[in-house]
Amino acid sequence: MAENRDVGGLFCFEVLAQLSDYVDGELGAEARAKIDGHLQGCDACAQFGGEFGAVVKALQQKVRGEEPSAGAQERLLARLPVR
């Protein structure tokens, strides 16, 4: 069970709730600094934050998804009106 400690003026749960905004760089400077302060003093959140950030980054960089076949594009283009 995770602890919910107040470190640096933030509880662990508050950090959990803001992790996406944190890794996306969408927090203001003050909010970001508060989370940085919590992470510096809370090993559990620093570890989980690292895991979370690593998974998101890997998803963004390594997964691409399947491309349509060449035949599929030709079939679609063939359905376009010719003018």
Partner: protein, 191 residues
Amino acid sequence: MEQPSADHELVTRAAGGDSAAQRELVVRHQGAVFRLLKRLASNTAQAEDLTQETFITALEHLGSWRGEGSARGWLLSIARSRRLMSRRTSSARHEPAEGASLEKLGLAAGWGSPVDPEELASRLEQRTVLEQALQGLDEESREVLTLRDLEELSGEETAQVLGLSVAAMKSRLHRARLALVASVKRGAAHG
């Protein structure tokens, strides 16, 4: 992604019956539309059919695009609508992310229970691990992760495509990412 002005000019020409512009729209955006639909649909054939329906619908309604956001976002909205219209009850998936509390999602993702960082890094090097973990999520989670993290739509545009406020989209995205972390770690636990 192309600039909005380039989109606007291309769609304007396509709406005027310019077949070269219509082809360009297809060539430029078919990949993104297909990738989303393949992520959501049951199989490749269905994804291809829905991709065709998306573009045929779009070309019939080019005049309705108001020029807000990108043409790609507009096309992905249409793709999503076509998918929703065709959807049957899905086979068993994990519980939808929105049904669980954030704390429960965090705990399932290993919040408070650290894993070996080298082991995790090694797992994340394997694209198949991430693909399987992603496909193991519920459809809404796969959808928001595909739009935001894979197709790199902005937060605002992702929200627009999903018909959500930005805040609601961010909530769904965060829950989906936590579910993905849990899914990656579950895959590691089962070897």
